[in-house]
Subunit: 205 residues, 2 copies
């Protein structure tokens, strides 16, 4: 086997370049939206020539698809952090809320970019093929959670899993429009969402 050279490599591999390009593009999407995303701005942010960027990522379309893939990857990684076996629907829902809280704290740009790319997926089939299944996967996770919870009794039997899932994902997405003056505490939102679907607990107080 070849030993690694003691000196740092002078050039980054294509994989490393693509990661850097993806991160720069994400940062620029936060600043200027997909609307204002320019290949030269990305190249400058990474510190490479525009032709170098095209060498590694041949078209702007491929570049946006790269961003979409990184978003998908991050969401998938986030979802693997917590096992769900043997828990009630309500317990799993709480895990989802904890994950969302983490996203808010650690990678706040995820939802913003996700929303923009899902919207773009309406018009651009290449992006749509990456983002729409991801968005639906996210939603369908909640459908499964609600089905589980209805079966184990932690959610009311009259809960419609699809409608309930939409309510949760819609709320979490809209929570991120926090640049307006309107505000609601994330804890209050989670509490309200739980009460929306759990059985009446009047006797428990």
């Amino acid at each position: 086997m070849h030993a690694c050279p003691p000196n740092l490599p002078r050039r980054e591999s294509t994989a490393e370049r693509r990661v850097a390009i993806g991160l720069a593009a994400r940062a620029l999407i936060i600043e200027k939206g997909v609307e204002g995303l320019r290949t030269r701005d990305i190249a400058e942010r990474v510190g490479i020539n525009i032709a170098t960027l095209h060498y590694h990522v041949p078209t702007k379309e491929a570049l946006i698809a790269l961003v979409a893939e990184t978003i998908r990857h991050d969401f998938r990684a986030q979802a693997m952090r917590r096992p769900r076996d043997g828990k009630t629907g309500l317990e799993v829902l709480r895990l989802e809320f904890e994950e969302f809280r983490e996203i808010v704290t650690e990678t706040p740009e995820l939802i913003i970019i996700l929303t923009e790319l899902v919207e773009r997926g309406r018009r651009d089939p290449v992006i749509g093929e990456i983002m729409l299944p991801l968005y639906d996967f996210w939603r369908n996770q909640f459908v499964d959670i609600f089905r589980l919870g209805i079966r184990d009794g932690s959610f009311r039997p009259d809960v419609d899993p699809h409608a309930a899932a939409l309510i949760v994902t819609g709320t979490l997405s809209d929570f991120w429009r926090a640049w307006t003056d309107f505000s609601a505490s994330i804890d209050a939102v989670f509490t309200q969402l739980e009460h929306a679907f759990t059985p009446p607990i009047a006797l428990q107080g």
Copy 2:
């Protein structure tokens, strides 16, 4: 007094031109997003020269602001259609749902454009000044509805008006991402939202 000439005028007034420009821009935003909005496309859609468009709407920024104003106007007009005096919180909530249903049916592009412009308002203060107060106004209407409902007993006393408002507006906004394969019946969604906040009705069945 002068009688109006029987012939149609050869030229439209600036007010009429601006309306036509706004409508064409809205249609194009649906098709291509704000990202793909081009002044020449708008001029062509209206049937005027690009310089004529600039005569009536001097910059692209002013043009997007014009679109934002028309959206605001339409939402305001929609909100005036139904009186709310003397109704319980739950009854008003149902009126809001009827209005949303109307938007879905009659002017389905409103939510899509609203969402894009609110997102743009995060980055562009000119658009933000138009759209963000509108979005907040919409949300605060629900805060008022929930406060009213808590007082009159049609909503549970433990409902947090701000969190509940966010849940409703988020759900309605997300309902509009109907271009994915995920689907939930709008009636089921409304029913679920009502049950989320109304008192337990176990005794009523």
